[in-house]
Symmetry: C2
DNA sequence: CGTGGGTGCACCAATAGCTTC
DNA sequence: TGAAGCTATTGGTGCACCCAC
């Protein structure tokens, strides 16, 4: 920058004004400066500017698993809302490891990022977020609620999901025995959904299957392995299964398919949760309780903006879940 | 930092040394500084440090589509290699839009990132990368080759993929009519694979199906829509189809499944490319030419390190593609 | 007289606010 | 008033140097 200035006999301040598109410089100098900058191969140093202004446009998305399509869809929504107002969104992957998460969060704080949206790693406790909280970095937690830390939280309405699932499986499909399949034991969504689901089932006088309701790591592979093991052991699946996520439904449906237990008349009714983009493409197509991940991402973006003290338009509440019925539950 | 120093009657330099874990300070002062920093809520400013040292540990992954599982798997490999040597990897999503890609790349240059790994947005030309090239920011391009710009490139061996596909469909399954299904017209992988595939087919005296070899946007939805339209129009699919990616195979298989044209004896043999994590879980399970996306990511990471002038161990060549035969081609 | 422990100051690349012509 | 300059400031680091055992 100093080179550009001296080369034109101007001061650095003037060049700075040009770089920031200030109206305080004449068109003539602006053009001259821009040309000279181009000629000298000068590139603006955003980092130095940030240091001086104590501002930054980087927002970090700290996610446990980029491969999970749900997470990918959420990131789209966040980016949409934040990008619109000039923020620069980047995703960091914790791979659900606490120490990596801690390192990433520390790095974002030390880089003076503008904000953070995070799905906490699985075993996170309040402890993992006190430093973040104290640093004052605007933060929104997503999906997995962490007790004992005062950070804004955005999540789906787990109770409504549980109730909807029960309603559909029991009232529509007449299932007399049900289970909640999979999800990580510690993850708050599992807990909330399972409770509401089970309660509704009990009220309807429907049997609960414990064996098929054990926690399972939230990947399609793990779901497949678990279901295959149960079936091989001779366990009969319940008439209706609410899966922790579409991703897990993929694995379960595959295992049931191996035993011709899904998609046909009289077989098991499987319901996923999230209604991912891919689910309609599955065979059989996956019925799902839509949680609108992209919309959830948008909400996160807005909540973060509010947290940063900026004016926000648009809703700050996630859309209510709804059943998208397809073949895996027997609707089509 | 200055507060911590004065509060202890030390100089800033000493505090700086402590923050950097330098062995030049006594244990006593180190402890005192750390305690005081904690007490005052001081947080290190990495951005300022970067400004001074002209170094940065942020590496940007600039990707066209985070939802694409292939991309997600690649990112895992990059992160693994780069994380190991202390870099901090973050993913930026261009959504395959040129202007967004340009903005992101500019931002990374202006932030003085340590390096970039990018899958260029679809319609990218050399023009989109000249500024990046000139800036000297270490860059690796991945998967989509861009003519006319001198940037290291990592990609799969497209010719080998095409040959393998032909070999499997023709020699193993005896297909007498084949097609290369989908992929974006402009994407270099499609061009290389299709050429080798078609050439091998021609040499074997096998018919080529033009109708089923048209370009299709690289999403499962688009693949499904395209195949459904062809089938509805009465077009008979060829005996063997090599799909541009597993992701597209999902859509094609679904469409063929609607017409009972896949997975059974005498039906169409479908081969995907990439062997994504999910493919074994599909119904029918997707046969695929494995390109090892995670390994590809690792290679990118290593090439980038070399580009930055750092010592690298491990291979800098992608693993050779190989066929993983499952049900969609009729092997199982 | 070496050396462990620490200091002082210029410097990185920008911006803010004020002054000057 | 419009255009440009001056200078302190942001939060660290590199390096030369100092001083007391």
């Amino acid at each position: 920058m100093i080179d550009v200035a001296t080369s034109l006999g101007l001061s650095r301040a003037t060049v700075s004004l040009v770089m920031r598109n200030s109206p305080l410089v004449s068109e003539k100098t602006r053009v001259a400066v821009l040309a000279e900058a181009e000629r000298l191969g000068y590139v603006y140093n955003q980092a130095a500017a940030n240091l001086r202004t104590q501002r930054n446009d980087l927002v970090g998305l700290v996610m446990p698993d980029v491969i999970n399509p749900f997470v990918a869809e959420v990131s789209l929504g966040v980016q949409e809302v934040l990008g619109e107002v000039g923020f620069f969104v980047m995703i960091a992957n914790t791979v659900d490891r606490l120490e990596l998460q801690a390192q990433i969060l520390r790095s974002l704080v030390e880089h003076r990022a503008a904000g953070v949206v995070t799905i906490p790693a699985l075993t996170s406790t309040a402890e993992a977020f006190v430093a973040l909280r104290r640093s004052g970095l605007p933060t929104v937690t997503l999906l997995r609620a962490i007790d004992g830390v005062d950070l804004p939280f955005v999540g789906t309405d787990e109770a409504a999901i549980g109730r909807l699932g029960a309603e559909h499986l029991i009232d529509v499909h007449g299932c007399r025995r049900v289970a909640y399949f999979g999800g990580d034991q510690l993850a708050s969504p599992r807990i909330g959904r399972l409770r509401a689901f089970r309660q509704a089932a009990t009220q309807a006088g429907v049997d609960w299957d414990d064996e098929w309701s054990e926690p399972v790591e939230a990947t399609a592979d793990a779901a497949y392995a678990r279901a295959t093991r149960l079936l091989a052991a001779g366990s009969r699946p319940p008439a209706g299964v609410l899966c922790h996520s579409d991703n897990m439904a993929y694995g379960l449906v595959r295992a049931l398919g191996d035993h011709r237990l899904v998609g046909d008349h009289g077989s098991v009714s499987v319901l996923g949760i999230d209604d991912l983009h891919q689910s309609a493409m599955w065979t059989p197509s996956i019925s799902s309780i839509a949680t609108d991940p992209v919309g959830l991402g948008r909400v996160c973006g807005r909540v973060l903006l509010a947290e940063m003290g900026l004016a926000v338009e648009g809703t700050r509440r996630p859309t209510a879940p709804e059943v998208h019925a397809r073949a895996s539950c027997g609707c089509v």
